[in-house]
């Protein structure tokens, strides 16, 4: 696997539905192709929904891993069309 250092990190822990998803989508839109977004999140529904939607929008999911308890770390490589 190539370099997976995130270009940008957003902390969505504690946020209510669907702010983590909306923040992720908005941030992805502002980023450039090839950059990596790290999303820290503890809301189970969005842990599954964010990768699903990012993938559908053409981005690449590099990693979805559990940090601790409900907290997950999602790494998304920006590939989608602007």
């Amino acid at each position: 696997m190539s370099d997976q250092t995130p270009t940008k990190t957003i902390d969505e822990c504690g946020k209510i539905c669907p702010y983590p998803d909306v923040d992720t989508m908005t941030t992805l839109k502002k980023m450039k192709k090839g950059e990596i977004l790290e999303v820290l999140i503890d809301y189970p529904l969005s842990v599954e929904r964010i990768p699903r939607n990012a993938k559908r929008n053409g981005h690449k999911i590099l990693k979805v891993e559990r940090v601790e308890g409900p907290t997950h770390r999602i790494l998304i490589e920006v590939l989608g069309l602007k």
Partner: protein
Amino acid sequence: MITVVSGILVGALFGFSLQRGRFCMNSAFRDIIVGRDFNLVKAVGVALLVETLGFSIMAMTGVIKMAPPALMWGAEGVGGLLFGMGMVLAGGCASGITYRAGEGLVGAFSAIVGFSLFALTTSAGVLSPVANFLKTNTKISAADGSPLTLGNIFGINANVVGLVLSVVIIAVWVVLALRKRTEEEPGEKPKSIWEAIFKKGWSWPAAGIAVGLVGVLAFPLSAATGRNYPLGITAGWNNIWQTLFVPGTVMNWGGALIIGIVLGSLVGAAIAGELALRAPAPKVLVQAFIGGSLMGFGATVAGGCNVGHVLSGVPQLSIGSMFDTFMIIAGCWIMAYFLFIRPMNAAR
């Protein structure tokens, strides 16, 4: 005692299914326009089909007696719209905030406080004249005085309509689904049945079937305790607060159901390692409280929330519940547009 045990058991199954299936109607309806994700609305569709099939068979065989909510267009129009707007602010529907309280989401606690406060004052307190006015003055019933359903507006047996409709839709859906089996869920496949049930989030068909079966189970069990209705949330929360603070109130099936939902979700979240107290910023807690308040008022005016009307009234083919569902979706989309879609487009 049996009432409480029965309510808690059904509630626990409901809460566990909601938590594992991530089943929430706010997300289901809102995701159609925010993010264009259809997973949860498909789960809602499956649950409704399972219930419509189950209810009609049980009614035909005499296991249950249908109790469809009446059409009260003013009450369901206003109440449904406000409920739909409120759930977007609150970050969850009535069942959604209840199961998320079990997961430890403090935002959901805040929404429940607002929800209960306004549900109580609208059902029995200062706001009750508003609800009563809308309910009594906009009611439309069938010629024989019974609630309007997809059956009696056409002069046919509602149970037959339910049976035929659900079987046909299920058959068409299954055929279509088998034709294009390309959709691969992202993420790793679960390694065992234990992991699939207790560790991973359920797929939408599994979530829909589980929630639908809980609804089917709920109807006869609730009716056996004298409450002839399937699942519901609003009256249950009211009952809990009244049991705690009004002397002489006894916990009923609906109240026990709520306790079960919270417990079932808590257990499900704990096994999956998703249980933890977590709070949003204070501003969001206020937003969730306001959203919850709109939901409590709306649900009481309309005579039901997304569970009482959508999950329990629609499968009984109640026209009132279908209208309420329509208005909840309208309210949800209006609020989601201003809260999420406009800001997202502006960020382009």
